[in-house]
């Protein structure tokens, strides 16, 4: 099995930005063919990362941005008490590594949840290229801004008072992100553990489990361990919206 993985590895390494399915999501979007080649030259396509590997760790030296090509990656910060806070689950097309530009050291850790491949873009070289390509420069800002806005979804979710609302918001958002990538929005495998999800949602694992069961009992979703089928997309987004218990009691 090691052999086949290696074969996939090599073929991915050969792929250029021009042939990348995520082109419109990543840095390369609005630049011409010639410029694309220059960007391509500095992009390192890394070997696929296995589950539980770290793309980078809190405190380590920062040098690159990373575009996720496939898989799923979890970011988190360590807390003084010893435990950690999960900050996000990142899917293909998203960028990691913006933390750490300020202090030259990563402020968070990025752990691989399922086999993933990423493009690594050395930050200083990106700067050099971008300095001569205004369109690329603008695109970088646009991407950064996009990630900035995306981060806000987390506190918005955590601001909701009910466990069901939080989980519904998460599932709804997850589903949306999948359809944005052309994936089935109604049937998917969650790559994170209940523990990670609970931590992300600001709840304990038991509460998350109960919320899943509740949504299933209401016929909104079907859950089998980490596999989720959304049966009633409309109902899910209804649960994701209000924090008033009355609507939660209905049905």
């Amino acid at each position: 099995m090691q052999g086949t993985e290696h074969a996939i590895d090599i073929s991915e390494l050969r792929q250029s930005c021009a042939r990348c399915a995520l082109l419109n999501l990543c840095l390369a979007a609005p630049i011409g063919a010639a410029e694309l080649r220059r960007l391509d030259d500095i992009v390192k396509r890394r070997r696929p990362l296995a589950r539980n590997e770290f793309l980078f760790r809190e405190g380590s030296r920062h040098s690159s941005l990373y575009v996720i090509r496939s898989g799923a990656i979890k970011t988190s910060v360590l807390l003084p008490e010893g435990d950690c806070q999960v900050l996000g689950f990142h899917l293909p097309g998203e960028i990691l590594g913006l933390d750490g530009v300020a202090s030259e050291r990563h402020q968070l850790s990025a752990e691989v949840l399922e086999e993933s491949s990423v493009c690594e873009i050395p930050f200083d070289r990106l700067g050099e290229v971008a300095a001569q390509l205004p369109a690329l420069q603008r695109q970088i800002y646009r991407i950064v801004s996009r990630e900035f806005v995306r981060e806000q979804e987390h506190p918005v979710m955590m601001g909701r008072k009910h466990a069901m609302t939080r989980l519904a918001l998460f599932l709804h958002g997850f589903s949306e992100r999948r359809s944005a990538h052309g994936l089935d929005p109604c049937s998917f495998e969650l790559s994170m553990s209940r523990q990670d999800l609970a931590n992300y949602l600001g709840l304990v694992i038991e509460t998350v489990s109960r919320a899943f069961s509740r949504l299933q009992a209401l016929g909104v979703i079907e859950v089998d361990r980490r596999h989720v089928i959304v049966r009633d997309r409309r109902a899910l987004s209804d649960f994701a919206r209000p924090d008033e218990p009355e609507l939660r009691a209905t049905a």
Copy 2:
């Protein structure tokens, strides 16, 4: 009193980046005198903004970044239900407007909590200048990264399960930010309402009120309406740390 305020206004408008007390916190930090002048040319120093004014509103056309020179500004997003989520309270030296670069429209609103002055930096012109000043370009990235990291504090705070912990974390952080600006870290006026604070902390107003009273009863702080005196800085950061109730019961 309008007269004196106007006088201050004019004198501030005349200030250059070079004379700005916040120089080391803002974009201009690492660039030379000549370059500073070029940056200075594009910076618009806006008249002071009054309480309850909006620096920008969600959905409005984006065009500038803003550096807060004095005062306090609250950012928030509207939620489908009609209410809103407060995302941050921003103090001098911090940057606003990074939202909205991606979509060209602001994704959040910025409301003035107390009389504030800001420097406005038109984004396209900043790009032009930065294209020729690598040091400025790098500084922009550094600032963006800094704000990116700062944003993480919010979900970290919201991840704590106890109201006291959240409030203590907030007060502790607020105090820290004040000393970073050379202000008294132990005696200050909170410029936001209990409602805004509760929303930011993911709690209801009554719970925040009780947490304040509790911290006062324990001798950690003194509260008089919006004025806070930190009596025991050490105890405050102790409360900000653990989420285990045992330590909360002590004293």
